[in-house]
């Protein structure tokens, strides 16, 4: 896959400053024809800024962009599209009630008589494109009827339809299942064979090693190095990214489980459509152990977590925390009993983004002394408590009075962690605790979970990342279609879990 001699895209000395921060500091970058060039870095390293500059969303303060050797000025996404640059954002920009073909041709529709959409022509064009690049996609399907992975393909097709030959993918796998990610990689390989060039933004090391030809690592707005895939290792890339040695697998002592602190018996939970999402689940988590729940997304994890934390009524069965039956208790009462809950979606549920960090850190305890007395709130005490926690959990990007929305994802998660672990929970539910975080932050979160375990908490870890389940759990349960279909010790392999997760009977497979 030798890239052409002449790069299709060159960035020279790109610099973008925001008030008080240099987001991109004289970054050089080039992209060859038929190359996948990964842009690797932690959250806030400047990857997205650089690409937004290239796509015309930001104007660079310094630097030069050359496309096929020719210096260009890109003032808007429209300019970028005209120059053959296409971008697939992390959050898709599709219209759910319209068909695939309609979405793809949007803004440059083939028309009849100048005003009417020529749907037939649009459909034909989309079918051709999708055949050329081997996309299995139905042009007549509505966006809200297809999977996330397919929606992403629509976004890619949209860029190709507009004539892109340089494709920027911003964290494309963040929303995909492992299978879908594999399919995406196949598509990328086809694109490259057809002479496209791809810039692949990510912070996931194993993806980079799988798909990229070259890897440019950014850290704190600076280009650290550009390396060939051949010879690169996860450990080495992690060191470049974070600037120090990183433990990719957390170190922990063997567990010393005590009393069961969380017990679930024959639990049944209904989802929003009143269908059974959790069906007769029983398990217990003891003090001082981490129990991992593995499973493909949508197999009852969310409903299970909500039932355990009092956000959703159980339809059947019993839940105990310690020796208290909490099946019918509300969230407030369960929190009082010492439940810590790191929610799946920190922005939707874990944080009030418009609140200050001090206010967010008091979300469970604002109505208890010393934070308040007789309904009267003491903001200064919230701030003092917050200052201690923020320092202890190494939260960066703002003090107690900063709004949660000003922090990066990793630091937001640290705030959630500080709140949930900081109140010394008996039982800690950690749902996808590292979703969207970078290597350094993942390591931090993992250490905190192990530390909570070692302090005697019963930790229930629910994650879609097998690697995470395997590296942290002392016992592993597999959830499939709302049932626990298998239980493993920490020595289980990814293959074993993967089989059980897709419903293949564990005993048959073994």
């Amino acid at each position: 896959m030798a890239p052409d001699e002449r790069p299709v895209l060159e960035l020279r000395g790109m610099t973008k400053r925001f008030p008080g921060i240099v987001a991109n500091d004289h970054i050089d970058f080039d992209l060859g024809r038929g190359e996948v060039h990964a842009l690797l870095g932690e959250n806030g390293a400047g990857k997205s800024t650089l690409m937004n500059v290239l796509y015309g969303l930001y104007h660079p303060d310094e630097g030069e962009i050359r496309i096929k050797g020719e210096p260009v000025r890109i003032n808007s996404p429209k300019d970028a599209i005209e120059r053959g640059i296409g971008m697939v954002h992390q959050h898709f920009m599709l219209i759910p009630v319209m068909t695939v073909a309609e979405n793809i041709v949007l803004a440059s529709e083939p028309t009849r008589a100048g005003v009417l959409l020529d749907y037939g022509a649009a459909r034909k064009r989309v079918t051709e494109l999708s055949r050329t690049f081997n996309f299995a996609i139905d042009p007549d399907a509505r966006i809200d009827e297809i999977t996330v992975g397919q929606q992403q393909r629509v976004e890619i097709l949209k860029a190709l339809y507009r004539g892109a030959d340089i494709l920027i993918l911003d964290e494309p796998t963040a929303v995909l299942t492992p299978q879908e990610a594999r399919e995406l990689f196949d598509i990328l390989k086809t694109l490259i064979r057809e002479g496209m060039s791809v810039i692949f933004i990510t912070h996931k090391l194993h993806e980079v090693l799988e798909i990229a030809d070259r890897i440019t690592v950014l850290r704190r707005g600076k280009r650290i190095d550009t390396v060939q895939r051949a010879g690169a290792t996860e450990q080495g890339l992690a060191r470049l990214m974070v600037g120090r040695e990183v433990l990719l697998r957390v170190e922990k002592a063997s567990p010393e489980p005590g009393e069961p602190l969380l017990r679930v018996e024959d639990l049944g939970v209904l989802d929003d459509r009143q269908l059974e999402a959790v069906r007769g689940v029983s398990f217990e988590v003891r003090a001082g152990e981490i129990v991992g729940i593995a499973g493909v997304d949508g197999n009852g994890q969310s409903e299970l977590i909500e039932a355990l934390s009092g956000l959703r009524r159980a339809a059947a069965g019993r839940i105990w925390i310690g020796d208290r039956d909490v099946t019918r208790s509300g969230t407030h009462a369960i929190l009082d009993l010492g439940l810590g809950h790191i929610p799946e979606d920190r922005q939707r549920r874990g944080l009030v983004l418009d609140f200050t960090l001090a206010e967010n850190l008091a979300l469970h305890d604002f109505d208890r002394p010393p934070n308040s007395r007789f309904g009267w709130l003491f903001p200064a005490r919230l701030v003092r408590w917050a200052r201690t926690l923020l320092q202890k959990y190494d939260v960066r990007g703002g003090g107690p009075q900063a709004k949660a929305s000003e922090l990066s994802g990793g630091n937001q998660q640290k705030v959630v962690l500080a709140r949930e672990i900081g109140r010394d929970p008996q039982v800690l539910i950690a749902a996808q605790p590292t979703r969207g975080l970078d290597v350094g932050a993942i390591e931090f979160v993992h250490r905190q979970l192990v530390a909570a375990r070692d302090q005697g908490a019963a930790v229930l870890l629910i994650s879609l990342e097998l690697e995470e389940i395997l590296s942290l759990s002392d016992r592993i349960l597999v959830l499939y279609e709302g049932r626990i279909v298998a239980e493993y010790g920490p020595e289980a392999t990814e293959d074993q879990l993967g089989m059980a997760m897709t419903g293949v009977d564990a005993k048959d497979a073994a």
């Binding site: 983004l353 206010e359 003090g399």
Partner: protein, 418 residues
């Protein structure tokens, strides 16, 4: 406590804190500038309307309106302008008996309930609710206040006032609480329910004070009006002649309500809950806050402000309730514009209420010289500006955009220079 082995904590670079701080300032600046620009825009377009309808210089019309508001009383000198330069300066000091003083009293009398109905909208806003029902809550408060003002006529003054005001406040709270309860229990949208409650309040009020209604004054068979409240229930007038609608102490009650509003939101657990629900109901629920209860409480407090407004108007200067007032009162609706323009912030609400209070007084037929502006049109000018404010408040994104575009332009110019 868990052991936190922080991975080699590096000191937070100074510029990071600086960025957060600067961003805060920028937002705050946007918070003051955008309502100002909104108001200026509204007056500009209002000026075009004036020019189109009267073919007169809008500035002189606005000057006449301003003089009618009594706000000119605040300045001890008056200046005669010839186009853009002053030609004469008169010193007249602060004469309490002057016409301007009377006008200012009128302005502040109207500002008082506007502050409160503005708060009624703003408080619900902070809980993520849109309270369109200020008018109905105001009416319920007014009806309750007048009834309690008529009863208990032998009571000692301050007690009687407190009783009537408390009952009106509670009535307003209960009325709005219905909408909160419906939202919390069956999910009925508060915009729909508060509008319906407005009409219910209007027609119940009309029945009560109208011809043959139980509250109609038996001595005034020919007029659909209640009996006047007892002397003991009237609010003390501290500025201007008590017999001629001087300024009553209700004004200070409204100011106190602004303080209470801020204290509840910033310094109580209740306010914390209301704001949490308003910003992110899902996170609030996860945090152990009862979202439904917050809706009920927030609506009740909103209604309490509006009910208080109704009682202050009744006990402060109206003294009896007229069928026409019940059917045409707009105070609750103007409260929406007040809250929007004031950005749900106590200071903002005070000045927005003052603006609308002044406009209402300044454009009233009594104050506006008919040769400057036809009296039939004068009152409409307030409504036009009110409408434009509501329209433009939705456009503060646009204002911010223009602001940023200007900055970008400046940067580009700077770049181009060297």
């Amino acid at each position: 406590m868990s052991e936190t082995a922080a991975p080699t904590p590096e000191p937070v670079p100074e510029e990071h804190q600086g960025f957060a701080a600067r961003w805060e300032v920028y937002q705050r600046a946007g918070g003051v500038i955008t309502p100002l620009i909104t108001a200026v825009f509204a007056f500009f377009i209002g000026g075009l309307v004036i020019f189109a309808t009267t073919h007169k210089n809008p500035l002189s019309t606005y000057k006449a309106i301003f003089d009618g508001t009594g706000l000119n009383w605040l300045s001890p000198v008056s200046i005669d302008w010839h186009l853009f330069y002053p030609v004469a300066v008169h010193w007249h000091g602060w004469d309490t008996g002057a016409l301007a003083a009377t006008n200012l009293q009128q302005t502040l009398i109207i500002t008082t309930p506007l502050i409160l109905t503005g708060l009624a909208v703003a408080f619900a806003f902070r809980c993520g609710l849109f309270n369109i029902g200020g008018n109905g809550q105001y009416t319920v408060g007014a009806v309750t206040a007048v009834q309690f003002g008529v009863w208990f006529s032998g009571m000692p003054g301050p007690l009687h006032v407190i009783l009537a005001m408390t009952m009106a406040t509670l009535a307003g709270a209960a009325w709005a609480g219905i909408a909160g309860l419906l939202k919390a229990t069956v999910g009925a949208h508060e915009v729909i329910t508060t509008i319906m409650l407005n009409w219910i309040a209007l027609w119940i009020g009309s029945y009560l004070v109208g011809f043959g209604g139980p509250m109609q004054d038996p001595r005034a068979i020919s007029a659909p009006v209640t009996r006047p409240v007892a002397e003991s229930a009237k609010l003390h007038v501290f500025w201007g002649p008590p017999t001629l609608q001087g300024l009553h102490i209700g004004f200070f009650i409204a100011i106190a309500a602004l303080v209470v509003y801020t204290l509840i939101l910033k310094r109580t657990t209740l306010g914390y809950q209301v704001r949490a629900v308003g910003f992110n109901a899902e996170a609030a629920r996860y945090g152990g806050i009862s979202v439904g209860r917050s809706y009920v409480v927030a609506m009740a407090i909103s209604g309490a402000f509006a009910g208080l407004a109704g009682s202050i108007d009744l006990l402060g200067w109206e003294f009896n309730l007229d069928l026409t007032v019940v059917q045409t009162v707009q105070i609750g609706f103007i409260g929406i514009a007040v809250a929007l323009l004031g950005r749900n912030n106590a200071f903002g609400i005070f000045f927005a209420a003052l603006l609308f209070g002044a406009l209402l007084t300044g454009t009233s037929t009594r104050n506006l010289d008919p040769s400057v502006f036809q009296p039939e049109l004068a009152g409409n000018l307030t409504r036009i500006i009110q409408g434009l404010v509501v329209l433009f408040v939705g456009a503060d994104v646009l204002v911010l955009y223009v602001w940023q575009a200007r900055k970008k332009l400046r940067l580009a110019r700077k770049e181009a220079k060297p």
